[in-house]
Symmetry: C2
Subunit: 366 residues, 2 copies
């Protein structure tokens, strides 16, 4: 099946290792095993067999604490949130189905669906509306063959947080049209009063991982939460491409979740420090603008200069070693994806180099 190149991922594959200051990575500064598991080496004796197929019950019990309702059979494990999303899209859709996605957003949803003959409509997130969509545009996008709405909450790259009121309205719409609602919650962390979609909707599905807010992307531990009925279908498909995540990853994941308060506090401190730096920096750099997100690690930095985002990103990488994913990867020009969770010293230096770069280049304004 033909699938389009994944612009964001390919951009990172091609350029990330050249970065000295990675301002675009959406993970919180990564932990090592030592950081994660002080004084615990019990897992070194774990047999490296397949382990529990849909995830270790101890891990799943910890995961359940992230949700308001459910039992361990409402959860299954995948290789990162990307495989989790792929499983959901491939299992619940067929050729000819139609889905609704948001733009700028994560290309995976539409491109996987398109690869097997499903169709999609992109509803724009409007910068002037705080990167929120017009609700009427979602309603207008529904067709007889529409089967699913896909959210990314918080959204990559805009940082949009779809709040409880919005979600409840969207759930009502999905229920009225019998649509699945897939909510990729990989950037979820410390939101207050923002429900996870399957907690409020019987055809709601949440995907998530430990990659972003927990700082352990290298575990590649993702999961899916949904109703038992949906889960049975997903677990059937999982036999073909996941089988299990293995005892080691399940154990490390369980321990990361048991240390959730410590890890969340660490993440919050890093993000808060970077946001403070950013606010200060914006005052001195009036030709940049951004909506600093309430939560999550991802944001979308706009600029007024007359240079396309791809050229901007390549040029500053070559000149200063500062790495951005350009808005071009999200079909949204004059923006750069800005990650908020990395080392504050590097973040500060990277922004200082960004100021110096635009000054030296003397770009004209649009």
């Amino acid at each position: 099946m033909n699938i389009k190149p994944f612009r964001t991922e390919q951009w990172m594959n091609d350029h990330e290792r050249q970065a000295v200051y990675n301002l675009t990575d959406t993970c919180v500064e990564n932990l090592s095993v030592n950081d994660l598991l002080t004084d615990d080496i019990s897992w070194m004796e774990l047999p490296l067999d397949y382990g529990y197929i849909t995830g270790d019950p101890g891990l799943k019990k910890e995961l359940l604490k992230l949700y308001a309702v459910g039992d361990v059979d409402n959860i299954t494990i995948a290789h990162g949130c990307s495989q989790a999303n792929e499983l959901v899209l491939m299992e619940l859709l067929v050729a000819g189905d139609h889905i609704i996605v948001f733009t700028p957003g994560y290309q995976q949803f539409e491109s996987i669906a398109e690869s097997f003959g499903a169709r999609f409509t992109q509803v724009p997130l409007l910068e002037e509306k705080g990167w929120m969509p017009e609700f009427a545009e979602i309603e207008a996008a529904i067709r007889p063959e529409t089967k699913m709405v896909v959210l990314n909450n918080p959204n990559n790259p805009t940082g949009t947080l779809f709040d409880r009121a919005f979600l409840e309205r969207l759930v009502a719409l999905c229920r009225a049209h019998d649509l699945y609602l897939l909510s990729d919650e990989v950037y979820r962390g410390l939101e207050k009063d923002v429900p996870s979609v399957p907690d409020i909707y019987e055809k709601g599905i949440a995907t998530q991982s430990l990659s972003k807010f927990y700082g352990v992307a290298g575990l590649r531990l993702g999961w899916i939460k949904a109703s038992h009925e949906i889960m049975d279908r997903l677990n059937n498909r999982r036999d073909y491409n996941v089988i299990s995540s293995g005892p080691l990853v399940d154990y490390f994941g369980m321990r990361a979740l048991q240390e959730r308060d410590r890890l969340m506090e660490r993440s919050k401190a890093l993000i808060d420090a970077n946001k403070a730096t950013l606010r200060k920096w914006l005052k001195d750099n009036p030709h940049f603008h951004i909506q600093i997100p309430e939560t999550g690690t991802v944001s979308f930095l706009g600029y007024d200069y007359d240079i396309e985002s791809k050229d901007f990103a390549l040029s500053i990488l070559d000149d200063k070693g500062v790495f951005f994913v350009p808005g071009w990867c999200f079909s949204e020009e004059y923006h750069l994806r800005l990650g908020l969770g990395k080392n504050p010293e590097g973040f500060r230096k990277g922004l200082a180099l960004l100021s110096a770069f635009v000054k030296e280049k003397g770009f004209t304004l649009r």
Copy 2:
């Protein structure tokens, strides 16, 4: 997309944890991290970021040693051999294509292809021919829309080893018809003079993992070897569902391969001990028959009793705690899949219980 239940995997999901004596597991007795990495804790400081996207170069260099030709760009990493196979099938085939598989065999190939509208022909492996196919039947199965032949070498569940002469003949056939040749080599270990398919064919693809012969299924480390041209396509798709395997798994995998001689010796000793037990046991149990495979960890035990394989497997599991995957899972009755790599003491006890079971039940012969 609709996909059939994966009989073997579902059978294991449903019953494996009830096993006292698992005689059907196709992995060599599993190692722990301690068994794998004596005195090495350097990896505990590895940052748990995404790491190298298509696999750590150190890991890939070790993997290359398993092949006669190629460079690190001929290899990419996946979540086990199952995701590796899925990637190949999904990328290289489209709806309406036709593939040729062997039966009894690993259901994954045909069911994934079928899920997106490809078709398949099963060429039988004939027990009376040492579980080899009639070559003319492969030739006869080729249609204008045939795009790929899929092997599993050694084959699950029969243990068939397709040797150099067979592979060279098959490659000539595939080349004449411009077909891909996917060779799932997950059971490969200590074969002599049996080439890996991409080493002898430009449209050949090998998939493999550390799950079976290396005893570290829990790492979930699989890989694909193919031409640069095929690899570019697979890496494009990988952005959607793998991204990376992470630094920890890559490091453990690299170390397992560096210790290959030790691990292979261990595996061989376990398998040889079990084969000796099996040979002895067969002499006293004339109503069972088997072709003991030259290499690999999997074999297919036939019996003369008048009881279907599913009932046989369920009954002996309940009565004796001895676990088999029945031939029913492979659409081949009156057989049980017998794994050859587990603990020799458990293997011996399991076979003794199998003798006791058929004696107690007094099954009539077919």
